[in-house]
């Protein structure tokens, strides 16, 4: 052959020359050695061209392996692609488009591919049968953790993952169409043309870079021209239609509920690295009214001795390498086929100038045309024959031992092309639970129950002939479009022939005495199937799990059916009873990063900012996470030595002057309707129908099981209009809960609700000068006196033309208000408030000071509303209405939830003055041993209280209210902060509530 660097490249201008671009040579390396190929090659075809036969080592026995297929079903030729942070282990050489500078390396071998120490496993292989590890590695007991498991783990796992973060990025995209066509072989192209010409919105997805599927690999004709020209012309027409979107390099990997399909577009996998700003891959959710599944079929191999040696290849893959890539996988071939289709490989090899030693077909007789054509090409025909063993080694196949009528003969060969028939790609039909159906005619499973909206056409449906595929595809495309309301005049069918496809089933050559592989990637042998049968692992699910059949990265694309059929033969069951393993999405493995897309780092989840965010940052706030929000935690001033100094100053300022806190993150739900009051009475434990207009009330909500779900104040602005507030953390959950209550439980109530959290900015103004500050803000015309706006009052008051709501509510225990303004004025109003506040000697305060003041006041918050407390535990039992029903009432009344010995809210103070308390410490009786039996509760919240001049805390303690004054122990071994504490009332400041009514 012409090219020294590519000894197996067929010469240009020959009968078979392939369609790579010989004007664009590309350089690449494999295991550090340089090679060259052409644009249009895959890594596999380029390696074949270069004469490289040994590509990898097998999983368990480290047997030499070569290239077995020409597509995504490849079990053997797995390599590490690229290097460094972009290293991609277990990548199939058969699907990688060659690009200039490609780097690939073999994997799972040491020290080198040619000399792999663990190949010694082959000698010990009698020990390493399926499931051997369940029977040993148990003695001595301590060795499992220390010795055996680390060894097993090192030996297992194929390639090496990258050890650095992926430098590339991924995009997510959403598409909608009338007809999704999956696959662009003859059926897919015909379907897309029929649907596209009708005007329907069509998306055609093709995994390969080129449209055409098998049309690119066969010497067939359509309309008397080479079939690949039909594919090119069809692609041209489809791309010209404005209603059709052609997506090549796009794998549809899964079918999901609601007719959603997951697809992965490889945007930049065919170049060294994505250009700046270009994603590596794009993850598509495609919502399609109809789907024509034309994913084609996968050729199945036959199980016989030495069927894993480099040089044993699927017969159809041989044709792909010849006809598409112009490379010769072997010079002296034996074809082993159980069906008419395999004979074409012999013909194509002869046409390409290779020598074909024989076609071995176990059938006693075949179509005369096949044998005649073989004879014309000088090919021996061995009918009724089997290959029982293939010899060879790391350098590839050397011979095939064939048995015909009990007589053995040795055929010298460097290529064994194998075909056991075709398996339709049923995966997409099973993702939603559809069960495939057994076809005796094809000796394989064909699509059975189909998911809603899907039809299957062409080889994927078991229609293997070219003319039939084109016709069925066209019909399916037209029908799918018609189902969406589109029709077109039927176009004339392209002329093509249905080649013979007769097949006789043969799964396993029983005469083989050498290792015969069922699952090449997981090294599952015929003997393993026999062993699984003997040990009772006979259900195909047990077979799979015990032997790992079909659990490799190819999900058994070339192994499952053979393995299941071999088990069926052993148990005597019919294949229709044996069934098949339902494949799981994704059809081919998908990068984890593609699922995440740009949801990473700061964009992992949205970050929500209040209208006052910028002001807070400008004023030095330290921010803290509060659910999806960021809130100011505290506002340090220069000279303050730590956060505690700042917080103490903020608390003192609020308690003695005035402070302002952004409380916009609390959930707000606007509730309106004739039955709004009745609705609230059912969701809150206390009554809201009696709340006068212009008043606010603190409310507690229970879950169905009687535990406290959330709390907050709800205000009434009109007979039929309430505004509810929720905690920040539960805002979405409560909205969901209310919607559920209304839509599912009481649809008859005339009430509507909407979340207005984002529509309003809200500021707490607290402290003795709070009223003064607000009077300055609103001006002299607004009366904010105790009579005009008493404690727990609320009013809508315009502020320079802006509608505002003013609530006289207090979380801090001070005279306090909350001012709500439309969010677009939030920043401006905050600035105005803060200017006035500063002039009065007040300050902004954050969540820390807020928390200190609520602990001082004994108000419960998230730490106490932890989903494990009932209202009584929190001292809120008296709020529970005894007159009417509400969610959670019955369950809250269960005896154990009413028992006095439940942990109940108390305050605690350290015995040792000035000692720091820690939250999470458990409460034990004084002097009791630190064991679980003595556990009496725990500390929920702690704070340094400037008002009490010491640490204080809230705790849930068994029999709490009866134990004020008792000295108990706070157990905190973790932080060495064990100490005695005294139980007290949870209200540390102003227990009579004089200040907030002031």
């Amino acid at each position: 052959m012409s090219d020294m660097a590519q000894p197996n490249r067929l010469p240009a201008g020959g009968a078979i020359e392939g369609r790579v671009d010989r004007n664009r040579p590309l350089a690449f390396t494999f295991d550090g050695k340089s090679y060259s190929g052409y644009a249009g090659d895959t890594l596999a075809s380029a390696l074949i061209a270069a004469g490289v036969k040994l590509i990898g080592r097998s999983f368990k026995y480290h047997r030499p392996r070569g290239i077995f297929s020409a597509g995504p079903e490849e079990p053997n030729a797995l390599i590490e692609l690229r290097g460094g942070a972009r290293r991609e282990p277990n990548t199939r050489a058969t699907t990688i488009e060659l690009y200039d500078g490609l780097e690939a390396a073999s994997q799972n071998r040491w020290p080198s591919l040619a000399f792999d120490i663990l190949a010694i496993n082959q000698i010990a292989s009698p020990l390493f049968v399926g499931g051997f590890y369940y029977k040993t590695f148990m003695w001595p007991a301590s060795f499992w953790e220390k010795v055996y498991e680390p060894l097993i783990r090192r030996a297992a796992g194929l390639g090496r993952a990258s050890e650095s973060p992926d430098p590339d990025h991924y995009e997510k995209a959403y598409a909608f169409c009338d007809v999704l066509v999956v696959g662009s072989g003859p059926a897919g192209l015909a379907a897309a043309l029929a649907a596209g010409r009708s005007g329907a919105r069509v998306i055609l997805c093709e995994d390969d870079a080129q449209l055409g599927g098998r049309l690119l690999s066969e010497r067939q004709t359509i309309d008397d021209a080479p079939a690949h020209l039909f594919a090119a012309a069809a692609g041209g027409e489809l791309r010209s239609l404005p209603n059709v979107c052609v997506m090549s390099r796009t794998q549809v990997f899964g079918a999901y509920d609601s007719e959603v399909y997951g697809a992965l577009e490889r945007v930049a996998d065919h170049v060294t690295a994505p250009a700046a700003g270009v994603p590596r891959q794009r993850f598509w959710h495609i919502a399609a009214k109809r789907c024509v599944n034309a994913m084609g079929a996968t050729e199945r191999p036959i199980v016989f001795g030495g069927n894993d040696r480099p040089g044993v290849m699927l017969a159809s893959a041989v044709r792909t390498y010849l006809n598409r890539f112009g490379v010769l996988p072997g010079r002296k071939a034996v074809v082993f086929t159980t069906n008419d289709d395999g004979w074409r490989t012999a013909a194509d090899l002869v046409a390409a100038g290779a020598q074909v030693e024989a076609v071995v077909d176990p059938r006693a007789s075949v179509d005369e045309n096949l044998t005649k054509a073989a004879a014309a090409g000088g090919v021996r025909v061995l009918l009724g024959g089997y290959i029982v063993n293939v010899t060879g080694g790391a350098r590839g196949v050397t011979s095939a031992i064939v048995s015909v009528a009990g007589k053995r003969q040795i055929l010298t060969a460097d290529l064994v092309a194998v075909s056991g028939g075709w398996n339709p790609q049923v995966a997409l039909t099973t993702h939603r639970g559809g069960k495939p159906r057994w076809s005796d005619a094809l000796s394989t499973f064909v699509p059975g129950d189909l998911p809603d909206g899907m039809t299957v056409a062409g080889a994927a449906n078991g229609d293997l002939g070219l003319a039939e595929s084109l016709r069925k595809g066209s019909e399916a495309g037209a029908a799918a479009a018609a189902a969406c309301g589109f029709s077109a005049a039927p176009a004339p069918q392209p002329r093509a022939e249905d080649e013979p496809t007769a097949v006789a089933p043969l799964w396993h050559v029983a005469e083989s005495r050498h290792k015969a592989f069922v699952d090449l990637q997981n090294d599952v042998t015929a003997d393993d199937i026999t062993l699984a049968h003997a040990e009772g692992f006979r259900s195909i699910e047990h077979l799979k799990r015990y032997t790992t059949l079909g659990m490799a990265t190819d999900q058994g694309k070339t192994s499952n059916l053979n393995g299941h059929a071999m088990m069926a033969a052993l148990t005597g069951q019919a294949m229709s009873d044996v069934g098949t393993i339902l494949s799981r999405p994704p059809h081919q493995p998908v990068a984890i990063g593609a699922f995440a897309g740009h949801h990473r780092d700061r964009h992992f989840r949205p970050t929500r900012h209040t209208a006052g965010h910028a002001w807070a940052l400008e004023n030095g706030a330290v921010m803290v996470e509060a659910g999806p929000w960021l809130r100011p935690q505290y506002f340090p001033r220069s000279g303050e030595k730590d956060w505690l100094t700042t917080v103490v100053r903020e608390v003192r300022t609020v308690r003695s002057v005035v402070g302002v806190c952004d409380v916009s993150t609390l959930g707000r739900i606007d509730i309106q309707g004739r039955d709004a009051a009745a609705f609230l009475d059912r969701v809150y434990v206390n009554t809201f129908s009696t709340l006068p207009v212009g008043k606010a009330r603190y409310g507690v909500m229970l879950r169905e099981d009687g535990f406290v779900m959330d709390d907050g104040t709800t205000s009434r602005f009109a007979e039929d209009h309430y505004v509810m507030s929720t905690t920040t953390a539960n805002a979405a959950k409560i909205m969901q809960h209310l919607e559920f209550c209304h839509q599912a439980l009481w649809p008859e109530l005339d009430v509507s609700m909407v979340s207005v959290t984002e529509q309003w900015s809200q500021y707490a103004v607290a402290g003795p000068k709070a009223r003064e500050l607000l009077m300055q803000l609103y001006g002299p015309d607004v009366d904010l006196s105790n009579d005009a706006l008493p404690y727990m009052g609320c009013r809508e008051i315009p502020l320079r033309g802006i509608p505002t709501r003013l609530f006289r509510i207090s979380f801090s225990g001070e005279l306090a208000y909350e001012l709500a303004v439309p969010a677009r004025y939030g920043a401006a109003v905050l600035e105005a408030l803060m200017a006035l506040c500063g002039a009065l000697g007040g300050c902004p305060y954050g969540t820390e000071a807020q928390s200190v003041m609520r602990i001082e006041k004994g108000h419960v918050a998230g730490n106490e509303l932890n989903g494990q407390t009932v209202a009584r535990d929190l001292g809120l039992g008296r709020m529970m209405s005894t007159k009417r029903d509400y969610i959670g009432r019955v369950m809250a009344g269960r005896p154990a939830l009413m028992a006095p010995d439940r942990p109940t809210l108390v305050g605690i103070r350290p015995v040792e003055k000035g000692r720091r308390l820690t939250a999470g410490a458990h409460i034990l009786p004084g002097g009791a041993a630190a064991v679980a039996a003595n556990d009496q509760g725990y500390v929920t919240s702690v704070a340094y209280s400037p008002t009490c001049e010491g640490w204080i805390g809230l705790a849930l303690v068994v029999n709490g209210p009866a134990r004020h004054g008792e000295r108990v122990h706070a157990f905190d071994a973790m932080r060495n902060n064990d100490q005695d504490v005294v139980i007290c009332s949870p209200v540390f400041v102003d227990p009579e509530g004089v200040r907030l009514r002031g």
Binding site: W139, I592, A596
Partner: protein, 417 residues
């Protein structure tokens, strides 16, 4: 029946592996049994094994509508830990952990229990407070649980991202060192083989269609797709389908069933030394001995018996994995599947007697039943054999939902519901 050992493996290897017996028989159902277990998952098989081994009740059948170990036992992410919040749960799960330690020898089957440590990540102040409370509760109960800083967590699990720039940075972690993983299939098979050797009949492809009762309401047998079978004791261990079986005896269960998804990556050489869980951003992950990353997602929001689940749930979980382990972004997801979990109102299981005499139930394990398998079977067997709750099982009665004496582990569940 042969005993498994390196010696027996060697002998059989030399004999071409032709002499291995069935690991369990495939018997036809007998007309009557002393006890019938419904459901041949890990918990059901363990129950049968301990009934035979510890209580001498050997005339036992385990009925399975499909193939043994084919439900949640064969679909879960295999995490084993016992750092629960309440004393009752700690006792139950720690009982299981102690049995895990010796299980391979007990069953003469390598279940590959691998205590490689379970890290639970804290991402905000609330997490820190909750975990520290957990650590203290566990210490009081004598269960190891440590608090690690973010740097210590990274040292324990080098692939972990603790960069401060994360949306929800890792602020610390609770570490249960003796937590880990095991080979789930081996657990079911090991119990099946060991129970079978003690005389238990494991009857697959045998679906229970009805429960027979006498005039007093006590059970007298079951109706199955393979005929009627008499018995005076029935233990129902049917996971997601428990409600369906219990309704045959007119017992309504406080259970809801949800799809729960899991997935694995392609296998790679060891990269992940331990188990990492994050409640806050919804993910958990470990690496199997075969090299696959095993990743668990949250439950669907709505009740369902579909064994698939939504694409967005998977996506949400993988977002979180990429955030915690940026070096895994380029690894590929291989398979994604779902199972049905049965969830109680307090997220703790139900183990014990029922209002129907002779009918016992073990269910409600929610998202975390695998870890309890040996302990669950052990205490349930005692409960059935003695007709009174095992002391560890006693708090886990169904009555607790009536009395309100709950064991509320919602906050301790693997992933928030």
């Amino acid at each position: 029946m042969g005993t498994f050992s390196f010696g027996s493996l060697l002998r059989n290897a030399m004999a071409g592996h032709k002499d291995w017996p069935r690991q369990w028989r495939a018997p036809d159902p007998k007309p009557a049994y002393d006890a019938i277990i419904v459901g041949a998952g890990g918990h059901g098989l363990a129950t049968a094994y301990y009934l035979a081994k510890e209580h001498g009740v050997r005339n036992v059948a385990v009925l399975e509508k499909g193939w043994l170990g084919g439900g949640n036992t064969g679909r879960n992410t295999t995490i084993i830990r016992s750092n629960y919040l309440w004393e009752e749960s700690e006792a139950l799960y720690d009982h299981a952990v102690k049995l895990w330690e010796g299980l391979s020898h007990e069953l003469n089957y390598n279940v590959m229990y691998s205590p490689r440590g379970v890290l639970m990540l804290a991402h905000n102040i609330h997490d820190i407070q909750v975990f520290k409370r957990h650590v203290h509760a566990n210490r009081l109960a004598g269960i190891d649980n440590e608090w690690l800083t973010a740097e210590q967590a990274k040292e324990f699990c080098p692939p972990l991202n603790i960069a401060p720039g994360m949306r929800y940075p890792v602020l610390g972690a609770a570490l249960r060192r003796r937590g880990g993983v095991a080979r789930y299939d081996a657990v079911a098979w090991g119990y099946a083989r060991a129970a079978d050797r003690l005389g238990v009949d494991i009857i697959q492809n045998c679906e229970v269609k009805g429960i027979r009762r006498d005039a007093n309401g006590a059970v007298t047998g079951v109706e199955t797709t393979r005929g009627d079978i008499a018995t005076k004791k029935i233990g129902v261990v049917a996971a997601g389908h428990t409600s369906v079986v219990m309704s045959m005896a007119d017992v309504r269960m406080p259970l809801e069933s949800f799809p729960l998804q899991a997935l694995v990556s392609e296998p790679v050489k060891p990269v992940m030394p331990c188990v990492v869980m994050s409640n806050t951003i919804h993910a958990y992950i470990s690496q199997s001995d075969k090299g696959e990353l095993v990743i668990g997602a949250g439950t669907d929001q709505y009740i369902s018996y579909s064994q698939t689940g939504g694409l967005h749930i998977t996506t949400h979980t993988l977002d979180a994995i990429c955030e915690l382990f940026p070096m895994f972004r380029r690894m590929r997801m291989l398979r994604n599947w779902g199972g049905i979990v049965d969830v109680t109102p307090d997220r703790s299981p139900i183990i014990g007697k029922t209002p129907v005499p002779g009918l016992f139930v073990n269910c409600g394990w929610g998202t975390g039943g695998f870890k309890a398998t040996p302990g669950s079977g052990h205490v349930f067997a005692a409960t059935i054999a003695r007709d009174e709750p095992h002391p560890i099982a006693a708090p886990f009665t169904m009555e607790r939902f009536v009395t309100g004496r709950l064991i509320d582990e919602a906050a301790a569940a693997a992933v928030a519901h």
